[in-house]
């Protein structure tokens, strides 16, 4: 319930925003925080994004109760813990600027059974989430797969997927040579080592969806001819990081692995019939604020992600 005191504060904030000097606003940026330990980390990144992409930013702290609503450097923070989800939605809607993109950054890793999730999803164009780094990566991704099927009009951006771009490029680069492309259709084994599950699942789902594989058993794909492709993924090292990828065909092994001397560099090579000398690829370090920025800026439809996510959903079910 919205108390009279809070209502008064919100109206004051609205009036202040209206009398402010003319400024550019590029999006409505809704941020939900459900973990006090994460609060400052999240707010720091919100500030960075606000500085670069002027936004109507509304931060909802679901653990905080009371009649508190404040404006801090053009950011509206609301203690939403004591309100009903519908009250929160109506409050937020009243503060949003119409006809510009609206993005929800859901900073928790669970979306099912979260009372605020669906009401907020109803009023945004895009959802940004990070399925990686928790103990429940696989469950989060499965929920996201369901969500994607259920709410196709809301653009879904998973930071765990977006972090994989350099690895996808390295794997794709093996087969850019037209003479090696046939090898793509002779893959017999896939091994991924990563600090959390989401990365491995997404890379596996991506390869499978691009190459027409199907999930035919637990941790096993089958290619278009029905040949089995065992998929091994192992947790090792820091979360949210891939450590190595190995793709084996009948004739060669294609691998990419962090170098021991500098974990910002990947050693990439091929052994076997198609052997090539190792090559060093610098791993672009992309901070979370930049990833969120990309999530905001990318076009709404990402067919490659959606098909990969759907494939991961199949593996997990």
């Amino acid at each position: 319930m919205i108390t009279d005191a809070l209502h008064g504060k919100i109206e004051t904030i609205k009036a202040e925003l209206l009398t402010d000097t003319a400024a550019t606003t590029t999006l409505n940026f809704l941020v939900v925080i459900d973990d006090d330990a994460q609060r400052q980390w999240v707010l720091d990144r919100v500030t960075l994004i606000d500085d670069k992409h002027p936004a109507r930013t509304i931060v909802l702290n679901t653990l905080s109760t009371g009649d508190d609503a404040t404006v801090n450097a053009d950011r509206i923070e609301i203690a939403a813990g004591g309100m009903t989800p519908e009250d929160v939605r109506s409050l937020v809607q009243g503060l949003m600027i119409p006809e510009i993109p609206s993005v929800l950054w859901w900073t928790g890793d669970e979306i099912v059974d979260q009372p605020l999730f669906e009401p907020l999803i109803d009023i945004v164009d895009a959802l940004v989430i990070d399925s990686s780094g928790s103990r429940t990566d696989d469950r989060t991704i499965r929920d996201l797969s369901d969500f994607s099927a259920r709410r196709p009009t809301v653009a879904l951006r998973d930071l765990a997927w977006m972090r994989l771009r350099p690895w996808q490029d390295m794997i794709a680069h093996f087969f850019d040579d037209p003479n090696l492309m046939e090898e793509l259709f002779a893959i017999r084994k896939l091994e991924i080592v990563s600090g959390s599950d989401a990365e491995a699942l997404y890379l596996g789902g991506w390869l499978a969806s691009r190459l027409g594989w199907v999930a035919c058993a637990h941790d096993e794909f089958c290619d278009r001819d029905g040949a089995p492709i065992p998929f091994t993924h192992r947790r090792e090292g820091a979360g949210r990081r891939v450590r190595s990828v190995s793709v084996e065909t009948g004739r060669s092994r294609y691998f990419a692995a962090l170098t021991p001397s500098d974990e910002g560099v990947v050693s990439v090579g091929v052994t076997g019939d198609r052997a090539r000398p190792d090559r060093l690829v610098p791993l672009q370090s992309i901070d979370n604020a930049s990833l969120i920025e990309r999530a905001i800026l990318e076009p709404p439809a990402d067919e490659v992600f959606e098909t990969a996510l759907h494939m991961v959903g199949k593996i997990l079910t």
């Binding site: 009398t19 000097t21 003319a22 400024a23 550019t24 960075l48 500085d51 670069k52 992409h53 002027p54 099927a149 196709p152 771009r165 350099p166 996808q168 490029d169 794997i171 794709a172 680069h173 087969f175 850019d176 037209p178 492309m181 046939e182 793509l184 259709f185 390869l207 499978a208 969806s209 691009r210 190459l211 027409g212 199907v214 278009r224 170098t259 001397s261 500098d262 560099v265 090559r279 060093l280 690829v281 610098p282 672009q284 992309i286 901070d287 604020a289 930049s290 920025e293 990402d302 067919e303 490659v304 992600f305 959606e306 098909t307 996510l309 759907h310 494939m311 959903g313 199949k314």
Partner: protein, 522 residues
């Protein structure tokens, strides 16, 4: 609805790598050698090698590449590598070079020592490149980069040809050349240099660099104009009163006094950077974003610049030279006491020019260009000042109603600002100007690549969009030649005529005042 299976093209059906869908490729595909003439010089150390290293760190360089330094200094490969490491440590935006990437990069660096007028040295270079083709797989492709003093451009091009390094002798790959600015010191010298270039290279093989065009905000001008519908209908003589283009610096000539004293602001900035900005603002929409379509439109608008008759030079231009003064509270010397500058120098450190464009879009809309050193603030911007409202409906209370102004900010701020009139809240109809600002923030995230990285990468890809074509260079020289000739044959007795840290010389203010206008504050 995605079903988990992407549309798949097997190799036999079309040779498309299915893993490439949605995965951006910024990597340069062609293997190649890049040869830096003048490799021991300041530009290579400060800008070019750090740019190459950052292209490598960005995984932009092709798998097979070689970087060859060529200059007179007697260095071995290892000495060249050591010198370049020092430069990267000091000047690279990514910080000091470190292993394993540095060792990997250093393996691709090599050096040829030789005179720029000795054909044997160029033949050595040819053998060196052929060896790189074998050992590094550089595929016979070569990009030459002229980063020497301009006086060496012609001799180097001549020896490239005579030693069999020119494109006509390359039967396996491509040969291109990047030519640093200035392209000539006047119209005649530019034409003479072009004549030498044409003997060896076709226009499509020549990349005349103007690093200003590689800056992100300069490219944003095209986006603002042609990715919005609201500006283009107003972008003409009917609604625009005039345009001001400013490139102001707070720095003096620093260590370039010897060069600058023979160049001056008109040659150093107006003829190239600032005129290029004018072309981007004033050109017609290109039919596509490809290099020649954009350059065709830029050329067309430059050909429409009305020549400034000799007897109008004093009326349509202003020049200045800075005296001692203060920049940000620090005293700075006058131009004539800078190192390597003639103490009686007549060289301008400030230039302002009023151009008219004789075409349907811009008839009677003056373009005021100015550039100078040691001015009050470092700023580059393009200001479009719109006409006054046709009828004054409000303002009986004495409010002034300012013209709308659209400002494209290039540096140090990057963004767009629009000034318009609004009612002051309250019962009375008070009008005031408000400014709506949009800044392209650069505070975090992937920092846009400095201009040299962008431009070298583009040349390696064969994309000439951000390079200047000869016809535009020639036309820009034609536009400024009457001014140069007048200024070089008359001494300005008022020099030095503006204090360091000021807005520029009084003559610039008079230039605007004569038209009933004034400059925007720097």
């Amino acid at each position: 609805m995605p079903d988990g299976t992407a549309t798949l093209t097997r190799p036999a059906e079309g040779r498309v790598n299915p893993l490439r869908a949605g995965v951006d490729v910024n990597r340069i595909s062609d293997p190649c050698n890049i040869v830096f003439f003048g490799a021991s010089g300041d530009l290579t150390k400060r800008m070019l090698l750090p740019a190459m290293y950052n292209l490598r760190l960005g995984d932009t360089l092709p798998n097979n590449y070689g970087i060859v330094g060529f200059s007179r200094t007697e260095w071995s490969d290892d000495e060249f590598r050591a010198e370049m490491k020092k430069s990267i440590d000091e000047f690279s935006r990514s910080g000091p070079a470190k292993d394993p990437m540095w060792s990997d990069f250093a393996q691709r660096l090599s050096y040829v020592s030789g005179d720029f007028d000795d054909v044997k040295c160029f033949q050595n270079l040819k053998e060196h490149l052929q060896n790189n083709d074998k050992t590094l797989g550089t595929g016979g492709n070569v990009l030459f980069y002229l980063s020497t003093p301009p006086s060496l451009f012609s001799p180097i091009i001549d020896l490239i040809s005579r030693s069999g390094l020119g494109p006509e002798d390359n039967h396996v790959g491509w040969t291109r050349i990047i030519v640093e600015k200035p392209f000539g010191t006047d119209l005649d010298s530019a034409r003479a240099l072009q004549a030498e270039v044409e003997k060896v290279f076709e226009e499509k093989q020549v990349y005349r660099i103007d690093h200003y065009l590689g800056k992100e905000p300069v490219q944003d001008i095209m986006a603002l104009r042609f990715a919005n519908v609201i500006f283009e209908p107003l972008w003409n003589r009917r609604y625009i009163d005039h345009v001001q283009i400013t490139a102001a610096e707070t720095v003096g000539v620093e260590l370039r006094g010897g060069y600058y004293d023979h160049a001056g602001a008109l040659r150093d900035m107006i003829q190239n950077h600032v005129t290029n900005l004018l072309a981007l603002v004033a050109m017609e929409p290109p039919v596509n974003p490809r290099a020649d379509a954009v350059r065709d439109e830029k050329y067309k608008v430059l050909t429409a610049l009305r020549p400034i008759e000799s007897n109008r030079v004093m009326l349509d231009t202003a020049r200045g030279q800075y005296d001692a003064g203060s920049i940000q509270g620090q005293p700075v010397p006058g131009y004539r006491t800078e190192p390597d500058v003639d103490p009686h120098s007549n060289t301008e450190t400030f230039a302002a020019v009023k151009f008219q464009i004789d075409n349907w879009r811009w008839a009677d809309v003056p373009f005021y260009l100015r550039s100078g050193k040691r001015l009050a603030r470092k700023t580059s911007e393009i200001a479009i000042r719109f006409k006054q409202i046709p009828h004054r409906l409000f303002g009986e209370l004495g409010d002034s109603i300012d013209n709308n102004v659209l400002v494209m900010k290039i540096q140090p701020e990057e963004g767009v600002s629009l000034r318009f009139s609004a009612k002051v809240p309250g019962p009375k109809m008070h009008i005031r100007s408000v400014s709506m600002d949009f800044n392209y923030g650069t505070g975090f995230g992937v920092v846009s690549a400095p201009a040299y990285e962008r431009l070298i990468g583009d040349a390696m890809r064969g994309d000439a969009t951000l390079f200047t074509r000869w016809d535009a260079v020639e036309t820009a020289w034609q536009a400024v030649m009457p001014i140069l000739e007048r200024w070089e044959t008359t001494t300005d007795e008022s020099f030095p005529n503006y204090a360091a840290g000021s807005q520029g010389p009084p003559s610039a203010e008079r230039l605007m005042a004569a038209d009933g206008r004034e400059w925007r504050k720097i």
